[in-house]
């Protein structure tokens, strides 16, 4: 049997490929022959080469411009570009869940979203995920011949091919973009923040109500560890930090190697978005805060005392 084609919908912004897409390509390699799907405008040589480095044998380009923002139109393009693929991998974002659902209905595919990985078992895809605020592990079998899997960032380590990469074949895909009832009348881009995007960061330092609105130490600690800054809903509701930083089940779900919660009580809504993280560290004044039930290392104390000391000691250690 020839190796099945595994299509991967690539996330990109300003020509830059998002890290989770390289992770998805790495996962795709373990399942079959990866084929990258690129929506929007043409793919530049550098990007195509990078996709090749992570295993893409082909880059299929659907030049549908801004229509790529419209889930129904994007779904039509992805369908056209992935007809021969047994599996389609997408990064598990809200927009991609819409695209995946529409594709499932038009192609008959089964879907698992928010997956931490997938493998073939007896010719069918099985995907694993955590549910109930990461308190349960679940393995889902996709019963249909065609499978769509939404993969969570940070669940597969992106690894480039070790052999000399061959530049992938770049092919144009013909798409008839469907008429839709919905019209996108205004798009206000959000400036890409500095550093790593929250969902993709391997270290996240979050501050909650306990910061009292002062994120200086949280930012400093995040920067020192090369991580992103997160927040609780209470903090974003207060307007202390913008909504994109919110970690939780209705905010961003993060699974970094290290999660540091500062002045966050650990409400179930917050835990739902971070509990699957590798190592969890908490600093909180209240010894009964629920965050201490789910951490590996906790300090009962004020973040205003603990963080400066930790920052100093880590700097000392690095200098040594």
């Amino acid at each position: 049997m020839s190796s099945p084609k595994i299509a991967v919908l690539i996330e990109h912004r300003g020509g830059q490929i998002a890290q989770p897409s390289l992770e998805a390509l790495t996962l795709a390699r373990s399942l079959g022959t990866p084929v990258a799907v690129w929506l929007g405008s043409e793919v530049l040589a550098d990007a195509a080469n990078e996709l090749g480095l992570y295993g893409a044998t082909e880059v299929r380009v659907a030049s549908i411009g801004d229509d790529a923002r419209h889930p129904t139109k994007a779904a039509a393009a992805v369908e056209a570009a992935s007809r021969d693929a047994a599996v389609l991998l997408v990064v598990s974002t809200f927009v991609n869940k819409e695209i995946a659902t529409r594709l499932a209905l038009s192609t008959g595919a089964g879907v698992v979203v928010d997956a931490a990985g997938a493998e073939f078992v007896d010719g069918r895809i099985e995907a694993f995920k955590t549910v109930f605020a990461a308190t349960w592990n679940v393995r889902c079998r996709i019963n249909t011949g065609k499978a769509i899997v939404g993969v969570r960032p940070n669940t597969t380590l992106a690894v480039a091919l070790d052999q000399e990469a061959v530049a992938p074949l770049v092919v144009d895909v013909d798409v008839t973009v469907p008429e839709t009832r919905e019209a996108l009348t205004h798009v206000e881009p959000i400036e890409a923040g500095e550093g790593v995007p929250l969902a993709e960061a391997s270290v996240v330092v979050s501050g909650g109500r306990g910061t009292g609105g002062d994120y200086t130490l949280v930012r400093e600690f995040a920067e020192l560890l090369g991580g992103a800054v997160g927040a609780s809903r209470d903090a974003t509701d207060e307007g202390w930090i913008s909504h994109e930083h919110m970690v939780g089940q209705t905010g961003t779900t993060v699974t970094p190697a290290l999660y540091v919660a500062c002045g966050i009580s650990g409400a179930i809504h917050h835990r739902g978005g971070m509990q699957a993280s590798g190592t969890v560290v908490a600093v909180n004044l209240d010894p009964d805060a629920p965050i201490f039930e789910i951490c590996d290392f906790g300090v009962v104390g004020s973040l205003f005392d603990v963080l400066p000391q930790a920052i100093e000691k880590i700097k000392e250690h690095r200098g040594a």
Partner: protein, 261 residues
């Protein structure tokens, strides 16, 4: 305006949630209306307060799931519908959408609806796939993840906050709209409504009533099957220290030892 809100019966977030035989365990004690559907109910109530009209709440689920529409009645919706059928047990999102669409079409045929409002996600599975599946089944406009929602001249306008942009999307009615928890602040039920909800009639329909073939739904028609579910082990070797002046040093030592810095 005539608006229908879909509400899901899920295990309470604060309860010990679990799986039994590949499906979410649902018990009468721990079951409740999905918290995020309170935002959907609130959005519908605000629209009819503004434009006049009535609101239906609809749930698909086992016998106990009637609690979800009762909660919606307590919040002030006018009519409640519960679709329940043994044959629907174990349905996946696509089958559930089919059943919901059957019930919605039945209400729509009596007198046209302007809108279906859903929550952004059900907090048991958090898949957020149902609103899209429902819009496709009904072949209506879809507006998703609304953090604000306005209706004028037969059109709905929403703003949605995505990680890279804020988008304004407009579509003609009827539409399926999913609202986020940013859209509004759900009200609390008042005593009068709680009392009234207790005896308010709930319409109960079977699959046959909503015109859905039993063979096309349920566990056997499901495109995915949970083949294994197990509780994740609690974290091992947990250390909690109290800061007596050395808390930061101890934290740094832990991170250094784990190779995390």
């Amino acid at each position: 305006m005539r608006i229908l809100v879909t509400v899901k019966y899920v295990p309470d977030l604060q309860s010990n949630r679990s799986f039994t035989d590949g499906t979410v365990t649902r018990t009468a004690e721990d079951g409740t209306m999905n918290e995020l559907d309170e935002n959907a109910v609130e959005a519908a109530l605000q629209l009819v307060e503004q434009h006049g009209g009535e609101v239906y709440a609809l749930t698909v689920g086992p016998a106990d799931a009637v609690a979800a529409v009762r909660k919606a009645l307590q919040l002030g919706v006018h009519h409640a519908i519960h679709v329940t059928d043994e044959a629907a047990a174990g349905s996946d999102v696509f089958a559930t959408a089919k059943v919901l669409a059957g019930a919605i079409s039945k209400v729509h045929a009596e007198e046209p609806l302007d809108m279906v409002i859903t929550g952004m996600a059900a907090l048991d599975g958090l898949t957020s796939m149902l609103p899209t599946a429902l819009a496709v089944e009904l072949d209506w406009s879809q507006l998703s993840l609304a953090s604000s929602l306005e209706v004028a001249d037969g059109k709905a306008t929403i703003v949605r906050h995505l990680p890279d942009a804020h988008e304004t999307v407009v579509a003609p009615l009827p539409a399926v709209v999913s609202v986020t928890d940013e859209a509004n602040k759900p009200r609390y039920p008042n005593f009068k409504l709680i009392m009234a909800a207790r005896n308010a009639p709930v319409t109960t329909w079977s699959l046959a009533d909503v015109g859905v073939d039993a063979k096309s739904v349920g566990a056997s028609a499901s495109r995915t099957t949970v083949v294994d579910a197990s509780p994740r082990p609690a974290r091992q070797n947990v250390t909690i220290v109290t800061d007596k002046g050395e808390g930061g040093t101890e934290l740094a030592a832990f991170l250094i030892e784990r190779g995390l810095v």
